[in-house]
């Protein structure tokens, strides 16, 4: 098995894919941030947190 050739191809392929993916993440990640902040703002403060697993368990 030619490991040297394998790693050359692997390196070029992955770095190229990462370059393309970085552009997509940069553009669409900014859109997701706007959505996240809007959703958190809409949700408002929730003092009765539904995630309190310990309390849920106590009620069982």
């Amino acid at each position: 098995m030619n490991w040297e050739l394998l790693w050359k191809v692997f390196f070029v392929l992955v770095v190229s894919l990462f370059g393309v993916m970085s552009v997509f993440v940069t553009i669409f990640g900014a859109r997701d941030i706007r959505r996240l902040l809007r959703a958190l703002r809409d949700a408002g403060d929730d003092s009765h947190d539904s995630s309190r697993a310990g309390d849920r368990n106590e009620r069982r």
Partner: protein
């Protein structure tokens, strides 16, 4: 440190403009932390960003967490010592993460259950005592695991800026970085983590690519491969060669540790999955992240390889070669090879790009630390303290306790960075310490999700089996006689750390099945 070493380490392109870039970036990060503080009013928001993270932001934040400065440092160290053969770890990480994304292996069912932490799953599936035990083991292993993060990250900073030549600089950089992370993490929780992860992704992904291309154009594509063959021979390319740090048992251990565990079981990665808006988004996130899970190892390995080539094949690196590879019999201690990559970058990159890369790396350092601090402290709050408390535990009290725990962990990390004296590669240290938790957790999650007859006793035994991994730590190996010097003074290992890791997974699996068959859970007919 000798005068020659100090002089060699002080040579860097890092300049005033780079310092300004770094400070400006840090101020921006702290500003974001302050800005989103008002959203961190509930535990779901504080540790899970309200479960409203979209796919692309999820990819950025998962990459931001997993592409930490410590990852870059230990990976560069592996590339420096192992050459291109280390690439097999990157390939395994990418392929297994893609597998998890395509199948939803473990993370899909966890997201469906809407748990915030893995121990919370233990309680839903088994019992509260299993949740508490799982939480304790997770925190013990997790905190031990991040013990060397601070030191490795600080070594990058002092290496790239030329401060390594000054004796006390490392200690002060460690303290400064730690304070920065503690202030930042206690402010905004997961929301600020997610936002700065995005900024870090943008800065670092393009910085990584630019630095890589610059390294190739500076050293020469063919020269890199030829020099690695000259210095390391076949072992520099073939990971199956035994006795050179890798070999088949190492590859198998990496499939477990860097592959399955790194993507589907390790809590900081899973916490990102559990913060996603849907299971579909989780799976897409994993498919896309398979590229960044590969790159987070691949590019730092390549930088470590380039540092090796820089030392051996260029006149500019000749002074460093004597520091890292002093002539045999000279009695001179070689310089810690963790410094090789940052010192190389400090001499390769031009000003401004060096500042951007350093800012990105400090951001990566902060991202990893805040994620880990947040993860372990929230496990203590949610999975150990809350289940044991008899009185109601308010959201405000939980957030406050989590913040106090973060500060306490910061104190431990500083202590460990200053005093731990193991000689293993940082990556191997992390695989062993993490293994105390993940060997058992992997089996409990695997069988708990996919085998109906898995019982609480089986889960208990599987988790406890993880403690065998302590035998993989170098100081423990030496103390127990598993590692010793032979008559010629060479170190001999009766069992290597990867072999101990694989045996621990096997033991955990056997105990889980035996315990479940011996004592099934009475009240459970299906999972």
């Amino acid at each position: 440190m000798t005068d020659a070493a100090a002089e060699a380490l002080s040579r860097t392109n890092f300049s005033t403009i780079d310092s300004i870039i770094v400070v400006a970036y840090l101020i921006l990060s702290l500003g974001i932390g302050l800005m989103v503080k008002r959203y961190a009013s509930s535990m779901t928001n504080y540790i899970g960003a309200g479960r409203k993270v979209g796919t692309w932001l999820g990819v950025a934040t998962m990459t931001g967490t997993e592409l930490g400065l410590v990852t870059v440092m230990y990976s560069a160290q592996k590339g420096f010592t192992g050459g291109f053969a280390a690439f097999h770890i990157a390939a395994i990480a990418g392929v297994v993460t893609l597998f998890v994304g395509l199948t939803g292996f473990i993370v899909g069912p966890l997201r469906r259950l809407e748990v915030l932490t893995i121990p919370e799953y233990y309680e839903k599936r088994f019992s509260r005592p299993i949740r508490v035990l799982g939480g304790i083991m997770l925190v013990f292993a997790g905190v031990l695991n991040m013990g060397l993060f601070l030191k490795a990250g600080s070594m990058f900073i002092v290496g790239v800026t030329g401060l390594a030549s000054e004796g006390q600089a490392l200690k002060w950089v460690m303290i400064g970085l730690l304070l920065l992370v503690l202030i930042y993490t206690t402010l905004g929780g997961m929301i600020s983590v997610v936002l700065t992860d995005y900024a870090q992704f943008v800065l670092l992904s393009f910085g990584l690519l630019a630095a890589t291309l610059l390294a190739i154009s500076s050293l020469g594509w063919d020269t890199i491969f030829v020099t690695v063959r000259e210095q390391l021979g076949d072992a520099g390319f073939d990971p199956t060669v035994e006795g050179t740090g890798f070999g088949w048992s190492y590859i198998l251990w990496m499939i477990v540790a860097a592959g399955l565990i790194g993507s589907a079981v390790w809590p900081t990665a899973v916490s990102r999955a559990l913060a996603m808006e849907s299971e579909r988004a989780v799976r897409r996130q994993y498919c896309l992240s398979s590229i960044s899970f590969t790159v987070r190892f691949l590019l730092p390995y390549f930088w470590g390889i380039c540092a090796l080539v820089f030392l051996h094949a260029t006149p500019e690196g000749a002074d460093l070669r004597l520091l890292f590879f002093p002539p045999e019999g000279s009695g001179v201690e070689p310089l810690d090879n963790l410094y090789a990559m940052p010192v190389f970058l400090g001499r390769l990159l031009p000003p401004v790009l060096l500042g951007l890369i350093t800012a990105g790396m400090i951001a990566a350092f902060m991202s990893t630390h805040d994620s880990y601090f947040l993860c372990w402290s929230s496990v203590i709050t949610q999975d150990i303290v809350a289940p044991l408390k008899r009185k109601p535990f308010s959201t405000r009290a939980r957030v406050n306790l989590t913040r106090i725990l973060i500060v306490a962990m910061g104190g431990y990390v500083l202590y460990w960075s200053l005093f731990y004296r193991g000689g293993e590669d940082i990556w191997d240290y992390m695989a062993v310490t993490g293994g105390i938790y993940f060997t058992g957790a992997f089996v409990v999650l695997l069988l708990g999700i996919y085998w109906k007859r898995m019982s609480s006793l089986g889960a208990l035994l599987a988790l406890l089996a993880g403690f065998f991994m302590i035998l993989g730590l170098e100081p423990v190996q030496i103390a127990s006689g598993l590692k010793f010097r032979d008559a010629s003074g060479e170190w001999v290992e009766r069992l290597t750390s990867p072999q101990i890791g694989l045996l621990t997974v096997g033991l955990s699996l056997v105990l889980a099945i035996a315990g479940s068959l011996l004592r099934p859970d009475r009240d459970r007919t299906s999972s």
